[in-house]
């Protein structure tokens, strides 16, 4: 049933419960929260990419307001290890320790009554350092000639991975072979709200309370307790409203550790709010891949094998908890995409450079890998003289092969991949586009198909050996005496609309009206432990856990209701907010059951429901190898050959996320991801110079797509249930950000094909597009 039909549960496009406060400006973010006696922190940050730090001279008279690592006793370094063989461990100090490894690395914390005064202090500190040559180029970084970022290492690489299928015979049997060198730029995630931390010590509870803008309060609690030497009961993390996460808020920050340590030491609340300059130049780095990729195909375009050398610039440190290899080490497993690939030879390097650590960003690895595979497929298609649609249809896993285990062991749960492609192509008038091309218009059509593993659990992450491995997701449900249902979850909602969708799940099971369901999240003191919101996992995992907890609660409610209805528990069912006799001869509401159990127990036989009306339940899909949503993105672009500018004329996404708990919210997720994907495709780029200096210090230099730059997009949904999840739902939160670079650049290259030009590097900015055109012109001369 949909919302229009009056439904409120799973599948209804219910309006978001949380929007009233957001749209009226009543949201409460870290920056809205102050405490009496609170101090503000500004960080003195490294002006250079690589140096030996000799000393920090504090401003005269203000020595007690400036803190270096030596002033933070007992603070441990951040270590995000990996169990992958050969992984080199980096020690990330909360404040620089003897060495500076990237521009923006925090050196000292300056504390004052106002942020401006704290910045004055930072500006008055004097640094003494010995500059070292910067490692700025990920391709040169691992070479023996490069200076070492971490002295104890043998080379500038966190990790290398290899898969060595024998592709040596393919040259002999393939009809077409293409090789491409491709690059994606370093990007900076740019949630509207930056990071922010407010740390205060509660002497009564002997507890460090850190209010911080995080996606994963419980993991932050664990990591922070480790680094501060506290037990976990002494740390409480509150994550209030969070203005966009995208992965950037799934990281334990050095700043969180420093603020907490300062608050303990000073006995006063301490707050740091990240500004945009810090976010761009010191912190929110992501993406930056380089590929040399070769693909072989037969006459029909069927892939015979792929060989790939992939390098990812992982920056200077392995951030907690996901580590430095989350992009490169996944290239080999993601590269086959939704296709049947017989052979794969793949070597990856997670290069270590003098740049801020690479962090997970919506789409993690998949955006770059999808770009590499999809542009390579189109190059093959052009070589074979077949269409972009034909080469994909020749390789997509067919629906009758589901569930399908591919050559790297990923298991696709369900779906009709070819149908998503056919529906996308059918939505365009390709004849008109081809006619325009024939008239000399520089327009093109591009496709990208991919699948997105989401909600993968223990079996996948165990192999990575990161500091925590997700297992059962928990949810706690609590029926109040007035019949209101509290749903407490350890995941965090920061744009996903979970205050609504989890209420829909509870409604689906218990029938309690969503208005009477309160979803509580964002506070480790109030919610069960969870690894948090990331990896497109929350709707599968927390959704499943809420459903399970509600089912268990329904049994207890049913038992009480049966007692009130004077029948056996087996003679009732809980449905539509009521406990009903199966013979339809009487019913009692859940609210009446609650009121009776809490406030009028004299009306119940003794011993009914000793367990109470609060339930914590765990959930984990079986198998837990993850759901695979999938999509086909299709774009029509127009290229201005005199300026290199690209205009997106039309964009369509056919998407299958299984059962959509709230289709309207899913549309919002897909559109938001699309905007970010357009940023990757056309705008976003954080260049570094040879000295390791970031060159885009403001949003005038780091271009984000604005409202005028994102086209009206057409969305089409298929709905193939996952056989492994509670309602058949699939993780889909990152999907929108994965497809756009592939689809848009393929469209650009389709447009440029008559000119003999091809774009290989992201973003496909006007200078790059024009350079490709001019290079082709020069080659023809």
């Amino acid at each position: 049933m949909t919302a229009e039909q009056g439904g409120l549960g799973v599948g209804a496009s219910l309006r978001r419960k949380e929007d009233a406060r957001f749209l009226h400006g009543r949201g409460r973010f870290v920056g809205d929260i102050t405490r009496p006696g609170m101090l503000e922190v500004a960080f003195l940050r490294s002006p250079v990419a690589h140096a030996k730090l000799r000393s920090v001279t504090k401003p005269a008279g203000a020595e007690k307001s400036v803190f270096t690592l030596a002033d933070l006793p007992g603070v441990q370094t951040i270590r995000a290890n990996s169990a992958l063989p050969g992984f080199r461990v980096s020690e990330q100090p909360a404040l620089a320790k003897g060495k500076l490894r990237h521009v923006g690395e925090a050196i000292a914390a300056c504390v004052a009554e106002t942020r401006a005064e704290a910045e004055d202090l930072a500006g008055a500190c004097v640094l003494d350092y010995e500059a070292l040559p910067a490692v700025h180029d990920m391709l040169a970084a691992p070479l023996p000639t490069s200076p070492l970022v971490h002295e104890a290492w043998s080379m500038n690489a966190f990790l290398e991975t290899r898969r060595d299928d024998d592709v040596s015979g393919l040259d002999a049997i393939a009809v077409a072979k293409v090789t491409r060198t491709l690059r994606t730029s370093r990007q900076c995630m740019a949630p509207i709200e930056g990071r922010g931390v407010l740390a205060e010590w509660d002497p009564r509870l002997e507890q460090m309370i850190v209010t911080t803008s995080t996606q994963m309060p419980h993991v932050t609690k664990t990591g922070l307790a480790d680094c501060l030497g506290l037990d976990e009961g002494q740390v409480r993390i509150v994550s209030p409203d969070v203005g966009g996460g995208f992965g950037y808020k799934g990281i334990l920050l050095p700043e969180e550790i420093v603020c907490a340590s300062l608050a303990m030491q000073l006995g006063r609340p301490v707050r740091w709010l990240e500004d945009r300059y810090e976010q761009l130049t010191a912190s929110a780095n992501c993406r930056e891949h380089h590929y040399v990729i070769t693909a072989w195909a037969d006459r029909e375009g069927k892939l015979l094998g792929v060989e790939c050398e992939a390098t990812v610039d992982a920056g200077a440190y392995s951030s907690y908890p996901f580590g430095a290899c989350l992009e490169a080490a996944q290239v080999g497993s993601i590269l086959p995409g939704p296709y049947i690939l017989p052979l794969l030879r793949c070597h990856t390097i997670s290069a270590c450079t003098n740049k801020p650590p690479i962090l997970p960003y919506r789409g993690v690895a998949r955006t770059g890998v999808c770009y590499a595979m999809e542009t390579t497929l189109d190059a093959l298609a052009r070589k074979l003289g077949i269409s972009a649609e034909a080469i994909r249809l020749a390789n997509l896993v067919p629906p009758n092969a589901m569930p399908y285990r591919n050559l790297v062991g990923k298991v696709f749960d369900s779906g009709d991949y070819p149908e998503s492609l056919r529906r996308a192509v059918a939505a365009f008038d390709l004849d008109t586009i081809r006619a325009r091309q024939a008239r000399g218009e520089v327009v093109g059509f591009g496709l990208a198909t991919f699948c997105e593993q989401g909600a993968h659990g223990t079996s996948v992450y165990h192999a990575w050996g990161i500091p925590f491995v997700p297992g059962f997701e928990q949810a706690h449900v609590r029926l109040s005496p007035d019949g209101v249902l509290e749903v407490r979850v350890g995941v965090h909602s920061h744009g996903q609309g979970m205050e609504t969708t989890l209420a829909q799940v509870a409604h689906e099971i218990l029938g309690v009206h969503p208005d009477k369901v309160r979803v509580v999240h964002g506070d480790t003191a109030l919610t069960p432990y969870s690894t948090g919101t990331w990896g497109s996992r929350a709707m599968v995992m927390a959704g499943g856990a809420v459903a399970e907890a509600c089912r268990q609660l329904a049994e207890r409610v049913g038992a009480i209701g049966a007692a009130l209805l004077q029948v056996a528990a087996t003679d009732v069912e809980v449905i539509g907010g009521m406990v009903r006799r199966r013979d339809n001869d009487g019913a009692v509401s859940i609210a009446d059951v609650a009121r009776t159990w809490y406030r009028a127990p004299q009306n119940l036989p003794p011993g009914v429901n000793k367990g109470g009306l609060e339930v914590t339940a765990g959930y984990r899909p079986d198998p837990d190898t993850g759901t695979h949503s999938y999509a086909c993105h299709a774009a029509v672009v127009r290229v201005d050959t005199e300026t290199g500018a690209v205009v997106i004329e039309d964009y369509l996404i056919v998407e299958d996320g299984g059962k959509l708990v709230n289709p309207m919210i899913v549309d919002g997720q897909v559109l938001g991801g699309l905007a970010q994907g357009i940023g990757t495709a056309l705008y976003e780029e954080m260049p570094y110079d040879a000295a390791g200096q970031p060159l885009a210090a403001t949003l005038a230099d780091y271009l984000l797509p604005g409202t005028s730059d994102v086209p009206d997009v057409r969305l089409d949904h298929m709905e193939t249930l996952s056989p492994w999840t509670t309602f058949g739902q699939k993780g889909i939160g990152e999907s929108g950000a994965i497809g756009p670079p592939g689809a848009i650049v393929n469209a650009i290259n389709d447009a440029l094909a008559p000119l003999g030009a091809e774009v290989t590097d992201l973003p496909a900015s006007p200078p790059r597009v024009l350079a490709a055109i001019q290079a082709a012109q020069a080659a023809r001369r």
């Binding site: 106002t114 004055d120 005038a700 271009l703 730059d709 006007p766």
Partner: protein, 265 residues
């Protein structure tokens, strides 16, 4: 990103404002450029003199074939038609393309011109329209031809003790043909190349090439550009030898398209 400490002063009369500026105060108008510079601590003035409350700071008057536009007139006012006639129509079109409406609501024509960012819109457009910048100093007003007002990057002909009082543009005939084209990576961003082309009946057309990280290049007689835009644009752009291939292509495109938008030769 908080500014270093500074004093904020709000002069209520022009003599008071001039005294403050002569004493080293940094004048502030809409502060759409100055604000970010303060926050990034790239500008750290001791004193900011907020000009916005001066008498007649904003406003438009027409007299003797000249439109006088108070320096404090906002881009939004110009966009909304504060300047009458054909020249007002042209200026409204330019204003509509400046940054975003919230910036235009506060940003002023005088503030932008005096700031002299080479990529700014009025820096390119006013020299093309002709007319003058009106400077007010201790000895009264003087007029500086718009074509030479901006003499460097963030550098103008204003003396240290002068304020920009107004800009003057000529009243244009209805037949004036105007072409303006700029390249922005996205809506609201600074231009990477701007060209303007103005043709008045019976006169040689004038063109301006700007936003190339350099003061605007004014071509007083752009007849050749009108006749042979491709070759002449390429020749004009050689005045900027430091441009890379992409900016050079943009600059040439800007000139050609400005001529085209003016209806060609």
């Amino acid at each position: 990103m908080k500014p270093a400490s500074f004093s904020y002063v709000r002069p209520n009369s022009w003599p008071e404002a001039l005294k403050l500026v002569a004493a080293g105060a940094r004048p502030g108008a809409g502060t759409q450029s100055l604000g970010p510079l303060l926050n990034l601590r790239l500008a750290q003035p001791d004193t900011i003199a907020d000009l916005r409350h001066l008498p007649d700071y904003a406003g438009v008057a027409v007299e003797g074939g000249v439109v006088r536009i108070g320096a404090g007139t906002t881009h939004a006012a110009i966009e909304d038609g504060a300047v009458p006639g054909r020249v007002g129509e042209i200026m409204a079109g330019v204003a509509r393309g400046i940054a975003y409406r919230p910036v235009r609501n506060r940003g002023t024509i005088g503030g932008s011109l005096a700031h002299a960012d080479p990529a700014a819109d009025w820096v390119a457009v006013l020299p093309a329209l002709g007319g003058a910048a009106v400077a007010l100093g201790p000895r009264g007003e003087r007029r500086i031809a718009s074509a030479g007002f901006v003499k460097g990057i963030f550098e103008t002909e204003l003396a240290a003790d002068e304020l920009l009082r107004a800009v003057e543009v000529p009243v244009l005939p209805a037949e004036a043909r105007w072409g303006h084209w700029k390249f922005c990576r996205k809506v609201g961003e600074f231009s990477k190349a701007t060209a303007c082309f103005l043709a008045l009946p019976g006169k040689a057309p004038r063109a301006v090439l700007a936003a190339l990280d350099w003061p605007p290049l004014v071509i007083e007689d752009a007849s050749m550009l009108a006749k042979d835009p491709v070759a002449e644009a390429a020749r004009i752009v050689t005045a900027f030898p430091e441009l890379g291939a992409w900016r050079r292509a943009l600059a040439e495109t800007a000139l050609r398209r400005a001529v085209e938008r003016a209806g060609g030769a």
